[in-house]
Amino acid sequence: MSRLERVDDLIDSRLMARLDSLDVVSRKIFTGKIQGERRSRRRGQSVEFADFRNYSHGDDLRFVDWNIYARLDRLFLKLFLEEEDLSMVIAVDQSLSMEGGDPNKFDYARRLAMALGYIGLVNNNRVSLFGFGSSRIERLTGMRGRRRTREMGRWLLDRNADGVGGFTDGMRTIALGGQGRGVLLVLSDFLFPDGYDKGLAYVAGRGFDVFALQVLAPEETDPARHGLAGDLRLIDSETGRETEVTASTAVLAQYKRSLETYVAGLREFCVRRSITHQLVETSLNLDTLLLDYLRRRGLLQ
């Protein structure tokens, strides 16, 4: 498959049409900076009744329920849910380890980020994109509305997977960046030499509803079926470290066990911190992922 060159390569009109009906679901109700389209736990001025409470001195008399006062001769204040906007942060791993696989992991992650961002824009959420993969964090923040779609696409096309590490720094930057409370989607293979735990810990405790989408290529999930054979000298694309491997049945089986252990460890880590983990293989059709997998996982509705 040729690499991505145009915004249409990221998301085509057919997919856009199908995504128009989707919305991002947050398990939490967040406080936005402006009035948005989703309920907040803060009591506000929406039309949706939330509760009553006793009147106290200084309360706005407009919210006094006079019908109850007439029946009970006591003042009660009506409380309404306030509707707020959703902050949607998409963090794309652009380290060198993403530059591999067939289909390419980085391309897949950018197309996924494009589709999720599009859903966010269409639903008038505040969408921010981050690219991490080195000490330098690249970002595109504060987008809202469908008209920002092309801008978001151009930004994603300009990204290259050429960084090294940077996951922890990237997550810390996002956590401290004042993006507001919202949904954080981390698109990465999570194969970091220095580990993923510190980075995820930064964002897990900051009020984000975090979704960890682990993007792996088929060559990584089942190397035996995808041409990995013989005596090999494997070179790490990020660190340049070399590992000599004789791809015997035993070694391949052990690799699969290591991968399963690693993925299971990541999933357990996420569960403990209320992070939703989803393993995504790049061979999976993007439509299927968005319209089936992620809906079933509760990210989209």
């Binding site: 993403m98 494997l234 790490d236 000599e244 035993a250 290591s258």
Partner: protein, 671 residues
């Protein structure tokens, strides 16, 4: 003393091994080079691969052993290589002893033609023994010092052909020089012979010490007659190289006899017994040849039943058939030979021969007293003529014609002594032939017999236990006189054979004893007349067995004594001036003919034939024994001399190489 452990690998085919090594090792190493050359490949992260390989390395010694075809193949290859290097001594017949004695059977059964391309068993044994010698001295990477080897060929007795030597060429030459025989098989003599070379006699030690028990390598078909008397001593090891096939049948002539009809001396009756050692019945015609001319054939093939296991003894008993031929007209002497028309794998026992003496129409003269008893005995025999001479008449006759004694087959001298005994065959009673080797020194009274040579043909059916002699001549026997009966007072009956002069001397007057009243006297008289008429060579009448020695008495002055072997070869016999000659042992069966000239210009060659027959009862069983049973030990046979097994290591290595290739192929298929 514990023999040193020798791991012997022979380079039997160094050239072929070099070719195999050059054609297989470099490709194999090249394959391994290919295997170790790793392809470079950039991947997203090596983190998980590093973990996987580390886990494998860390856990391998402790993880549960899983079935792996690769592991199996590698273990198999390793086992084959270890086996090849270890050279299992017991199974491969390799010798660990410092001294090895090669015992090669050359008995009659080893002439059986059931080897490769119709070769005899002896040829097969020689070939295998030579290969074995080369293997023992072949050297090699893992070989120790080669053992010293001794070569003994054995049949009826053992013959040392090569004492202990390190010179393999000498030993092989000795092996290749072994000639076949038709003798019976005896191993004990050969073992004793070998032990004599391995026993150290210490003057300070009463019992001999076996310094270094040798290993015996026996190349035989296992048909050895004296195994039940043979014991392997402590430390001695024997490898029985089985030669021949265990299914080779054989039939042969077990016995042959011929006798003249007493009523019609010109006719000869022939008796034969055919034995069959095969597991199936045997059928064949029998031929009778006289002096190599076919004289009779059985009217229909004779049937011999198959051999069977004797229910009582548990031993195998040959099937037998007796054959009696119709009388043959044979007015002269000659060689009677009986042959089986259908030859089998062992030819030597398919024929047998006897020597028939000429019909005895004897001419007898009696000189001297002519006692009634003697005359009566002679008149009772069917003689051609019987003439009586007074001593003076006989002396005059001889003086007139010195050759006149030749006109009589036997001359009986009764209590008288002619002037000269120069030629002729005499039976002499009482008067000592002082001019012909006997020295009288008086007379003795009341003599009794002290010793008797029972086996002498003169004494067949003659019992002298009750003989009482009133008076006898006291004589001293000369050097060429053979005493066959000795009394307490000196020689009593003696013989002398000087070729032209032969006599039997009875040193007493039968009339002075009770002998004429005994049956033995009649038998003795008949034996003596017959023996003398045959020239004193009674041996010619009875067939010899292979391994026997043929003896004959020669006349004084006989020249050019020769013997013609069954194959037609002429061999000069030494000692022409001796009164007797001998030749032997007669290794092969067949007809041997001795001949000589009595004296230059006087008499032509005199011929004497000997028939040597292979004893088919002893050697006719040609099925190779699978094992041999000594008195206290059982030794299983090794097929083909064990040489195939000793050359097993190349096959082991080839097998290991094949397994390695299979392992490499499986490995490739897996990755």
């Amino acid at each position: 003393m514990t023999p040193p452990l020798i791991l012997s690998i022979a380079w039997l085919t160094p050239f072929a091994a070099s070719i195999v090594a050059l054609s297989t090792i470099p490709p194999l190493i090249a394959l391994y080079f290919l295997r170790l050359r790793r392809a470079r490949r950039v991947i997203s992260s090596t983190m998980l691969w590093t973990r996987a390989t580390q886990d494998l390395r860390a856990n391998a010694p402790f993880q549960r052993l899983r079935f792996s075809i690769l592991l199996l193949l590698q273990l198999l290859a390793l086992a084959l290589v270890i086996l090849a290097i270890a050279q299992p001594q017991v199974d491969l017949g390799e010798s660990q002893a410092a001294r090895v004695v090669f015992l090669i059977d050359r008995s009659g059964s080893m002439s059986t033609l059931d080897g490769i391309d119709g070769a005899t068993r002896l040829a097969e044994a020689k070939r295998l023994a030579a290969d074995r010698l080369r293997a023992l001295h072949g050297g090699g990477l893992f070989s120790g010092p080669a053992p010293a080897v001794m070569v003994i060929a054995f049949a009826k007795d053992g013959q040392l052909l090569c004492p202990f030597t390190d010179n393999v060429a000498q030993a092989i030459a000795a092996v290749e020089g072994i000639e076949p025989t038709d003798e019976t098989t005896s191993l004990l003599d050969s073992l004793e012979l070998a032990r004599a070379f391995t026993t150290v006699t210490d003057p300070d030690n009463a019992s001999p010490v076996v310094a270094d028990p040798p290993a015996y390598e026996l190349f035989s078909d296992g048909r050895i007659s004296d195994l039940n008397r043979t014991v392997l001593r402590a430390g001695e090891k024997l490898v029985y190289h089985r030669i021949g096939k265990s299914t080779t049948p054989n039939a042969g002539i077990g016995a042959l006899a011929a006798a003249r009809n007493p009523d019609r001396p010109d006719e000869v009756q022939i008796f034969a017994r055919v034995v069959n050692w095969g597991s199936t019945a045997y059928s064949s015609d029998l031929e009778v040849r006289v002096d190599d001319r076919l004289r009779a054939v059985t009217p229909k093939p004779i049937d011999v039943p198959a051999s069977a296991i004797d229910a009582r003894g548990g031993i195998q008993v040959a099937g037998e058939t007796q054959v009696v031929f119709p009388s043959l007209s044979m007015p002269t002497g000659g060689v009677i030979e009986v042959r089986l028309a259908q030859n089998d794998a062992l030819v030597a026992d398919d024929r047998a021969a006897v020597i028939a003496a000429p019909p005895e129409a004897l001419r007898v003269a009696v000189v001297g007293r002519g006692a009634f008893v003697i005359r009566s005995l002679l008149e009772g025999m069917s003689l051609a003529s019987l003439e009586l001479f007074a001593l003076a008449d006989w002396n005059a006759k001889v003086r007139a014609d010195p050759a006149s004694p030749d006109a009589f087959d036997v001359i009986v001298i009764d209590d008288a002594m002619p002037d000269a005994l120069t030629r002729g065959r005499y039976l002499i009673f009482n008067a000592p032939p002082a001019s012909a080797g006997v020295s009288p020194y008086g007379t003795k009274e009341s003599a009794i017999v002290r010793s008797v040579r029972d086996e002498h043909p003169l004494l067949q059916y003659v019992n002298l236990d009750d003989l009482f002699i009133g008076s006898m001549q006291a004589v001293a026997a000369g050097g060429d006189i053979e005493v066959i009966v000795e009394a307490s007072e000196g020689p009593l009956i003696m013989t002398m054979n000087r070729g032209s002069l032969t006599y039997v001397y009875v040193a007493f007057d039968p009339m002075e004893s009770d002998w004429p009243f005994q049956r033995g006297f009649v038998n003795f008289f008949a034996n003596a007349v017959t023996w003398l008429a045959a020239g004193g060579n009674s041996v010619a009448d009875e067939p010899l067995a292979p391994g026997d020695v043929a003896k004959a008495r020669l006349p004084r002055g006989a020249q050019g004594a020769m013997v013609r072997l069954p194959g037609g070869e002429e061999v000069a016999l030494p000692g022409a001036d001796a009164s007797s000659i001998s030749y032997g042992p007669l290794r092969l069966s067949g007809i041997y003919r001795m001949h000589w000239t009595e004296s230059k210009g006087q008499l032509g060659p005199t011929q004497l034939a000997f028939a040597v027959n292979m004893n088919s009862r002893a050697e006719g069983r040609t099925e190779t024994a699978q094992e041999i049973n000594f008195a206290t030990e059982r030794v299983a046979g090794v097929q083909g001399g064990g040489l195939t097994e000793s050359a097993l290591w190349p096959w082991l290595l080839l097998g290991a190489l094949a397994v390695l290739c299979a392992e490499w192929w499986v490995w490739l298929r897996r990755v």
